[in-house]
């Protein structure tokens, strides 16, 4: 975590100063917290009735659970489709033929650079008007998510394939495998293993993005929350509860990603798997500054 390079190992005087500033800092934070609470109390946000539904309404949990299922369904469909699309696009981008490579590059850069909401609205608005096909909200959401995440996953797969030692490709051609079979049966299985942590991190992004479903009326967590708020009249409490659901799931997933990565690093030695997870979050220095970035 924080390496204490910025300050020395503390002597008695510094320790006292840190203690004092800790107390002061804690007091300031407490004072801020108290101000917030005061404000909440003044506006009757701490009244029992705002929290009562959480204790007395089994129906609330039923609705939230249903909504969570819808969220997860959209996320799983989109993850599967996006992974398939991502692998296809990555193969396209790794192709040695320019007429395959260039379109793949264009597709990846286009879908990474366009707002996800626009893609979802495209399926939601344009399909009924242009092709006379009414797409259910779930599929508008899933297809939008698939295009965006497919482009991102394509980059993850490409980085994974490029991270594999050259000897693998050479060995494959030495036993007479062509370019396609080399990619498919030698490089991809190894790449999938390396990129697993990055893929899990991308799942966090994807899961968060399913909440865009509320725009097109898909009954996921947020949409359902909005409906519940109209009855229960406790937006702060209910939306915080929904935020908490997301935080718990996503934090669990990031712990899983870190665990998988740590296990791989122990097995394969440091360095080989590290840059990939950073590619997905995009916040570490040296990560590619593409048009995708964190969402």
């Amino acid at each position: 975590m924080t390496t204490p390079v910025l300050y020395d190992v503390q002597g008695p005087k510094a320790r006292r100063r840190v203690l004092v500033s800790s107390l002061v800092g804690a007091l300031v934070l407490l004072a801020l917290g108290a101000l917030v609470l005061q404000r909440l109390a003044d506006n009757e946000q701490l009244d029992y009735e705002k929290y009562e539904p959480f204790l007395t309404e089994p129906l609330l949990y039923e609705r939230l659970f249903e909504a969570l299922q819808n969220t997860l369904i959209a996320a799983v469909y989109a993850l599967v489709l996006a992974t398939v699309l991502g692998i296809v696009l990555a193969f396209g981008r790794l192709s040695q033929r320019w007429f395959i490579r260039l379109p793949a590059v264009a597709v990846v850069e286009f879908f990474r650079g366009v707002p996800l909401l626009l893609l979802i609205l495209f399926f939601f608005l344009a399909f009924p008007l242009a092709f006379d096909v009414e797409l259910p909200a779930l599929w508008s959401l899933v297809l939008g998510l698939t295009l965006y995440n497919g482009a991102v996953i394509a980059e993850i797969v490409r980085a994974g394939v490029l991270a594999i030692p050259k000897g693998q490709t050479e060995a494959a051609s030495a036993i007479g495998l062509g370019r396609g079979p080399t990619l498919r049966i030698v490089l991809l299985p190894q790449a999938l293993r390396i990129m697993l942590p990055a893929l899990i991190s991308q799942l966090v992004v994807l899961l968060k993005d399913t909440s865009l479903g509320f725009v097109i009326g898909y009954a996921e967590l947020l949409r359902t929350g909005g409906q519940l708020v109209q009855v229960l009249d406790n937006p702060i409490q209910l939306y915080l509860a929904i935020a908490l659901i997301y935080v718990v799931i996503n934090y669990g997933l990031s712990l899983l990603a870190r665990w998988v990565e740590g296990r791989q690093r122990r097995k394969t030695g440091p360095g080989s798997a590290a840059p990939l997870s950073q590619l997905a979050t995009g916040v570490d220095p040296g990560a590619s500054a593409g048009l995708g970035g964190p969402r």
Partner: protein, 215 residues
């Protein structure tokens, strides 16, 4: 195609708001994010905890939920702003968590000797951070900051759902008015977003070259 060319003024108006939303939220996120990063590396434990908690909570919450909390939560405690300002607040709060992570990794990437040297000439923690480490950290993190702000540009589209007249809202209104040209209109909006993202990327590239050259 005509629907796009005839309504260029609608697009211009919408995307002007997109750009101003992005710029205001970028400034907000940069200030708040740097503050949180400074808290996370400080020698004072309670500040570190709060900084870490903020980053973990916000990064794992969807931006749309942050929007809902801001737009529907703040009026409950008598904070009533325009939707435009609510959008700036929500985008700043969300993006700040990512900026904080980038700044923190930037701080960690500055060679330890720099901080040691500043201490040996008698600088305090605040001076070390402000005068020596942060300036170097920021030049290191221009690429990740660029992707964060480009993501922010794309994220402003969510403000559309809250009645802000920005690019996506402009697109939506044009689609409603000219159903037949829906694909051309959406494609036009997509290419404007793409052009803005490329422009931002080019500007950050220029900034990076200028900064590295001056060192």
């Amino acid at each position: 195609m005509d629907a796009v060319l005839d309504n260029l003024d609608v697009f211009v108006e919408g995307f002007t708001t997109t750009v101003s939303l992005t710029l205001l939220a970028a400034v907000g996120a940069l200030v708040l994010g740097t503050l949180i990063a400074a808290m996370r590396v400080s020698p004072v434990p309670p500040l570190r905890w709060v900084g870490a908690a903020y980053v973990t909570l916000v990064r794992n919450t969807p931006l749309t939920v942050v929007f809902f909390l801001v737009v529907f939560g703040l009026p409950e405690v008598d904070v009533i702003l325009s939707f435009y300002r609510f959008a700036v607040v929500a985008l700043s709060l969300y993006t700040a968590a990512f900026v904080a992570e980038a700044v923190r990794s930037g701080i960690n990437s500055v060679a330890a000797g720099q901080a040691e040297a500043s201490r040996s000439v008698g600088m305090t923690f605040g001076q070390t951070l402000r005068l020596v480490v942060l300036p170097q950290a920021f030049t290191n993190i221009i690429p990740p900051l660029a992707s964060i702000f480009i993501a922010l540009l794309k994220n402003t589209s969510i403000a559309y759902a809250f009645g802000v007249f920005e690019g996506t809202q402009a697109m939506n209104q044009l689609v409603n008015a000219n159903g037949a040209d829906v694909i051309a209109i959406i494609a036009a909006a997509a290419f404007i977003y793409l052009a803005l993202a490329l422009l931002a990327s080019a500007l950050f590239g220029l900034l990076e070259r200028t900064v590295t050259a001056s060192r």
